[in-house]
């Protein structure tokens, strides 16, 4: 299994900055998440050989595809890469079957037909092989693109925003199929997207990338709960990111104390930060609990904060409530179901109390500005 691994280290200053190092094991889906222009596609193109960065190294399955130090650069036709392009890039003048068999140049003519049929079956397209791409739906085109990418018997599968051009329902189906495919392929799958929800559904590990730099590579749960720094926290959609000072640690009760403006908050035990140290901290919007006016509960003793509702914004089934605590200029943001907002009569200008759930608070190293 170790042999199926791909190892990548890419660095360049411009025109698109890259500073990335990671490896991906066979059978693993590594999802690269980042905003538009963060270098995601350049990363995939570099692996495929469609782009050569200034400095870098790519080892795949025991072969060196790129090593700028020794001047090794295997041409893209010789890198066994399966690439699913964002808009699939199917050959419009060829049928589904021909699109796939064109990538089977490494096989004898006699074996190509059989292999094409196997691949069509693998992606559930058995009866549509004679159709041109224009006669297929978005989801079917995507399946042809996946089958074509797998036709070369690739050592790594690269997916560039593969679900961006299909509707929600098809997307759910394709995500499930991708998960099934992973267990059968045993090759590294590198999947690029700007959609964090999609990443959380399919990823074994997520790599957060920004301005060409890999900021954190970990499991989806770990990244969501413990972002490495405020930039990662903000990229994965956290609103509540603040500065604070560590006050003390209590190893017996496995908790730490944090001073945020004038409020002392109890947080999970994080002894890696020294008392007195300036830190940043984050709490997910769903880890704030509203104090119900009519029915106070014991949970309200946990990090209570009182303030004024700044803004109430209904987005679909949920209401995003922004609260300005009495002692602070910074606002806390929480999400509550619309019916809860209605029942508690949440309106702008109202006074409310919330609890910051201790387990949801995560301390982070204060980011040092790079020169």
């Amino acid at each position: 299994m170790e042999d199926n691994r791909i190892q990548i280290r890419l660095q360049q200053d411009g025109p698109i900055r890259l500073d990335i190092e990671f490896s991906c094991a066979g059978g693993e889906i590594l999802v690269i998440v980042g905003p538009s222009g963060s270098g995601k596609t350049t990363l995939l193109r570099s692996i495929a050989g469609l782009y050569t960065p200034t400095r870098g190294m790519i080892h795949c399955n025991g072969e060196t595809w790129l090593d700028t130090e020794s001047g090794t650069r295997i041409p893209l036709q010789k890198r066994r890469v399966g690439f699913v392009f964002q808009h699939y890039a199917l050959f419009p003048h060829l049928t589904a079957q021909q699109n796939i068999s064109l990538a089977l140049g490494h096989l004898d003519r006699s074996r190509r037909e059989l292999r094409t049929r196997e691949l069509l079956e693998l992606v559930h397209l058995k009866d549509l092989e004679k159709r041109l791409p224009s006669q297929l739906s978005g989801g079917q085109q995507q399946r042809v693109a996946v089958a074509r990418a797998l036709a070369r018997d690739p050592r790594v599968l690269l997916l560039d925003e593969p679900f961006s051009a299909v509707d929600q329902q098809t997307r759910r189906k394709l995500v499930r199929e991708l998960a099934q495919l992973r267990s059968r392929l045993h090759i590294p799958i590198i999947h690029v997207t700007h959609n964090l929800n999609e990443a959380r559904q399919v990823a074994n590990r997520i790599c957060i990338i920004h301005h060409g730099a890999a900021l954190q590579i970990e499991s989806p749960d770990e990244i969501m709960a413990h972002p490495r720094n405020s930039r990662v926290a903000s990229l994965i959609g956290h609103y509540n990111i603040f500065a604070g000072t560590v006050v003390s640690h209590d190893p017996d009760r496995r908790l730490s104390r944090l001073l945020w403006n004038q409020t002392e908050l109890i947080t999970p035990y994080q002894p890696e930060f020294q008392p007195g140290q300036q830190v940043e901290w984050v709490i997910p919007a769903d880890q704030l609990v509203l104090h119900q006016r009519r029915r106070p509960s014991a949970g309200e003793r946990e990090n209570p904060v009182f303030g004024t509702i700044d803004e109430c914004l209904q987005l679909g089934q949920n209401v995003t409530v922004s609260i300005k605590p009495h002692h602070s200029e910074e606002s806390l943001t929480m999400t509550v179901p619309a019916h809860v907002a209605r029942r508690n009569d949440l309106r702008e200008g109202e006074q409310i109390g919330v609890s910051l759930l201790q387990e949801g608070i995560h301390l982070m190293e204060k980011e040092v500005l790079k020169v």
């Binding site: 495929a48 893209l76 392009f85 808009h87 890039a89 419009p92 003048h93 140049g105 490494h106 791409p133």
Partner: protein, 223 residues
């Protein structure tokens, strides 16, 4: 009706297309995808025959191909024949004045092929040469067909350049367009009318063929 002139025109059209199209495919593919200094100048020079008066183009070709010119002298020394007032000279002139009619449609066709389609071909293991034959050329085919039809139709109809470079030698340089002029000068309006009608029909059929074919391809590829 001067059948010999029609035959000569068709032969000239076919030979021009045969010589010009491979050149046009190479040049237009290069212009479509490469960005280099002087690209606009190169495009302008290639488009020049479109706007230059045919007599002006004919004059310069006469100068270029004439027996006193370097090209004319070399040709005469090698083939013991002249480039002006001969079929071969006419053919060379025809290739030159048809350049924009061949290059432009093919260049447009190459430009419509998305870059990721070519990249996908490379990622499928296809070499540049295989990508050209299996992907690029079939996709640029409507442009190549347009170029073929336009070149032949335009060769049949060209008058000024042909008269300047080739003159009016029956069986050698008298094309159908020249023959029509010749017949009108001789007050033989019936022959001129027949030949004009034939040219009109050929031109209409050519244009209709291009539109029909391109429309069919567009529907087939869902463009």
């Amino acid at each position: 009706m001067d059948w010999q002139a029609l035959q000569l025109s068709l032969l000239l059209g076919a030979c021009t297309a045969a010589l010009l199209l491979p050149f046009a495919i190479v040049v237009s593919r290069w212009l479509a995808w490469r960005r280099f200094h002087g690209r606009n100048l190169a495009q302008a020079v290639l488009a020049l025959p479109l706007i230059l008066p045919p007599t002006v183009l004919g004059y310069y070709l006469l100068e270029l191909l004439g027996n006193q010119s370097i090209l004319g002298t070399v040709f005469t020394a090698v083939f013991h024949d002249s480039l002006v007032f001969s079929f071969q000279g006419l053919l060379l002139a025809s290739v030159v004045f048809n350049i924009p009619f061949a290059v432009q449609p093919i260049q447009r066709a190459f430009e419509t092929i998305p870059q990721d389609i070519r990249e996908a071909a490379w990622c499928c293991g296809l070499s540049d040469w295989q990508t050209f034959w299996k992907i690029e050329l079939p996709l640029a085919w409507p442009g190549v067909l347009s170029a073929l039809v336009l070149t032949i139709a335009h060769t049949l109809g060209e008058f000024g350049v042909v008269l300047m470079v080739g003159g009016n030698i029956p069986g050698e340089t008298r094309t159908i367009a020249i023959a029509i002029y010749d017949r009108v000068q001789a007050f033989d309006n019936q022959s001129a009318g027949t030949m004009s009608a034939i040219l009109l029909l050929i031109s209409m059929a050519a244009i209709a063929l291009i539109y029909t074919f391109n429309d069919r391809l567009d529907r087939r590829y869902g463009r």
